[in-house]
Symmetry: D2
Subunit: 335 residues, 4 copies
């Protein structure tokens, strides 16, 4: 079987991770990279990528590409996916596809009419902890799921400049939790009630966002999920999920720096959770891109498709509306 | 110092626990007991209670009493407290004082005009786990509290006959969690949003109640709490609390049957939580009644007063209204 | 069924615990107490014990007694048990029966020729943790046991005056672990190798004892146990056991003050083990004396008999010899 | 700075791991590989190693080499290290250097007279768990160390053919624990007492080895360590260490497959330890070889030197003698 020819768009933090993982993979040939910034292009050069350009269009035209990995800024995602689909190139795109529901729908239609595969980068689906929870739920280990609880707290708030463009907490951060809420129990969300506050940094409020939230989701079958978020957990990155059902409960916990326990006269002391998402999800990123590559070489679907992006976006938009109007909002209202 | 003369009204499950604990206490003399049922009176007889009667009125009139422990059915609580207050007798009363807000207000006014102490039986405040969480929060160990999370799941649903009279999940079960939410961070609740479902037993729904719920509370300072409830956790009684703040997080866990871990080829296996509230809160009940007795012999306030009962009831009534109308309800609407 | 008439010899720390527990028990009547010290007798008086004397002989002669609880100093144990046996009175005796093997054998023969029951106070056998381990081992949960590991560390060293009379670490402290080693796997010990050191307090060494030890036991079937001891664990009382077998492993852990976990930027912090044996084994003491009482009223054997005391003593004496001669010592050498 | 030219001898299981890690490292150029087996050479070919040969001698002569990674069978280690040293080539050698103490001493002398660095492959020193324990001990977190406890159990026994040549349990398996015992407290061992048995597989006994052991080590300062070993833990690879000292205790635990906890009516269930040493120590292997490479480019010593191999071998030989003669053996007796 011939190697898959892969191009990568954007060599910022995430792009470099994907490039590093792709370089280790059998059957993969990195044929091109693009980055409008000199620094990104230099990074690709050091990794011996043969064709390095500064525009996406040029990259698609220059060389034969089987799939493109899109890690460029959010506002380019929709265009880049659309261009790839029209050129018959499969795409892996970091979330979100776009902050506008209309634009996402439009792009997904283009993808649907093409013959290409599109995968969205919801990395947590590839983390061993979340996968194990889903697997146990799927196997019936907890019976019928009644309640899903997701804790998702970042170690520190992003810069205000990021928040201003990100769509805010619900679209840049909670959107992962919305996806997890759908993923672990394989149910669709019908209604959202979001409560939020600015408790960490007034500047976040001045930028029109919140930094702390509790979101209640109601699935179409009447069961419920609750997500709690904070932009800043002093003890690091906090990512837990719990599914309670008719026959049991399953929880996954954080991953810690090490397992040591120190006993002294003041108490018992242990290590903190891995501090940053790049450490916690290092292995998940590797498996994510591996699974994308595997799906290209087979008849199987991609593990996270355009609709998964669409649904999470709808939940996010409903959460924003709910917060603004302080009332539960049906997803059906978002369209 | 002379012994305190204590009477006990109602010798059902809880009454017997209080009687047992009182019998161990120094400075306490059980002088009377009342129960309309022969079985309850016989129980008191076996414990050598000197004066045993079948009506509350008779008990108050027969002998000198310093304080009465009211463990009779809920619909007698208000009357019994009122009668005690008017007779100048201190009272410990199991929660709730009454399901009607008007009646509670009325009784609390009678108590206020009397010279007696009234304590409400929110037993979790005396549990070492909840106390430790409150103590750490109070000491600033988590900084400014931002989020409170309470998990409260019963090992099995009560009989439908109980549910029909109890006021429903929010007034018979979540009311403890409402009190815990106020207790651990010492904040008042301003708004309630309740979402519920019947997922365990249709008969519960037919009785007009729910068996599964997620309740979001907003405190007056804009911080938030979330409570998740189930009438039936297959693995036993699940009682956890977590307070997340600007500088840290504190969690308390269940109490388990034992600490064993069994490793075999299938996994690692451990013991379940203590199954029933009487086991989990055995020591809390002892301390609760001890603290009541101690407060009688001193100038100190009772650790749970009438207002604590009133506030929890208001939150419960707001939760009921919220569930019915599927919207957040301000406590100010309840009056 | 008539009440059992119980007398208690010695109202020091342990005697008071047993008395307190006995007072709660149905079918038990405390008929007499003895203590050579005024303070002990006063304690009994406050507990309304009807007959209170200052010598053991007087107590046995004064009133009809079904069983005596012997909590007096170690050097009285053998005589008191012997006197009880000769008087046809059942006895519960705190360990050890005596520090002299000859004397123990002698007393056990007197007991054997009498018709009375003798139980030794190895309290850990009644602790839920050790019981659970034994139960799982017995049920085959770990398959054939290969290794037993016991950690036993005290929160602080006893006074030198105690150490001088106690028989030393192996006879006053490790003797409990020797019993646990026999108890959890129901095997007899054949050989002992003891290594010890004075690492905590030179005065202990000057008193002829050690404060830190590792003892390897070989059972008659060739499987092994290892015990580690310290007189002083800065973090409190440390009591753990682990049994490893052909199909798995079971561990029991300490019991902690509470379950809280505090996360802050320095780490995760939890509560210490219960600090003192009286707290850790509070419930074990209650069950121990309850089981003794139950065995009296039935045909069943006492749960810890004279031979259990004898075997542990032999192991202890072998450990002493092993330490002195720095070589493994067979139990057969001790006689 | 120019790249370091690295050659690798032996491309079995461990050789491939080192090769994979070296390929990821900056400043490293794999210049040659040798393996007497076609399969090993083919593996190197697929990894694009430029010079691939079938004898060690040929490899050393063919190309310029800065360092060689020796992963060939144990009986070649001493010769290969010697040849490298004489050729002025630095060497990383998998443990043990040799099973013969005389030969090890001889080789170390050759190394000492040369100008090369020799590092031994005690991989656990690079595992985050053991490193953390050492770091805390070094920082005084437990005060003066009194007791070291090491649990080391394999998931399954190796083939009898391996055991016949390996030197037996103490030299092929416990030798890692002997190194850990020295490493975590930075103390030298003076005396060994080993107790062992054949409890898992009679064939192991017939091959002259044991499969289960408890080894007590006494350090030169009188403090002690105890190691327990089994060739076969049904629940996987069990690698724990505990250091108890005057001011506290530190423990490290296994690394588990994931963190899930499943609660159901039968109990709480969690995932097993990582099953195999290659999974548990995957990252340790990477850091180990990285640290070797780093030490070459600097004046710093290698983190595990020839003396570390020598001391562990002495302890192992003392353990063998102790087991045979059932008595404690001083290291001074081994020479």
């Amino acid at each position: 079987m011939r190697n898959l020819k892969i191009a990568i768009a954007g060599l910022g933090r995430i792009g470099r991770i994907h490039l590093g993982n792709l370089c280790q993979m059998k059957g993969v040939e990195i044929v091109a990279a693009m980055d409008p910034m000199e620094e990104g292009r230099q990074y690709a050069k050091n990794k011996n990528v043969p064709c390095i350009v500064s525009t996406y269009k040029e990259m698609l035209e220059t060389t034969h590409i089987d799939a493109v990995i899109i890690c460029s800024p959010t506002d380019t995602h929709a265009d880049y996916v659309e261009m790839a689909a029209k050129a018959g190139i499969n795409a892996f795109c970091e979330k979100p596809l776009d902050l506008s529901l209309e634009r996402v729908v439009e792009v997904l239609e283009v993808v649907a009419q093409s013959n290409v595969k599109l995968m969205l980068g919801f990395n947590r689906r590839f983390d061993k902890e979340f996968k194990k929870v889903k697997e146990l739920v799927q196997n019936g280990a907890v019976g019928q799921p009644h309640l899903v609880k997701i804790t998702s707290r970042d170690p520190g708030a992003p810069p205000i400049s990021y928040i201003e463009k990100s769509g805010g907490l619900f679209l840049d951060m909670t959107i992962h939790d919305f996806d997890v809420a759908r993923f672990v129990v394989d149910k669709e969300v019908e209604e959202v009630y979001a409560k939020g506050a600015v408790l960490i940094d007034k500047a976040i409020g001045e930028a029109g966002d919140i930094d702390t939230a509790i979101v209640t989701l109601t699935y179409t079958d009447g069961t419920m999920a609750v997500i709690d978020n904070s932009r800043q957990a002093s003890y690091g990155y906090d990512q837990r999920v719990e599914v309670f059902g008719s026959n049991g409960m399953v929880q996954s916990n954080n991953n810690f720096m090490d397992s040591h326990k120190l006993y002294n006269e003041k108490g018992i002391h242990a290590a903190l959770p891995l501090h940053f998402f790049l450490e916690r999800y290092k292995e998940a990123y590797r498996i994510e891109i591996q699974d994308f590559i595997s799906s290209l070489g087979s008849d199987s679907d991609v593990p996270v498709n355009g609709n998964d992006g669409l649904e999470s976006l709808k939940i996010g938009l409903a959460a924003i509306k709910s917060l603004e109007e302080n009332r539960p909002v049906k997803l059906a209202e978002i369209c």
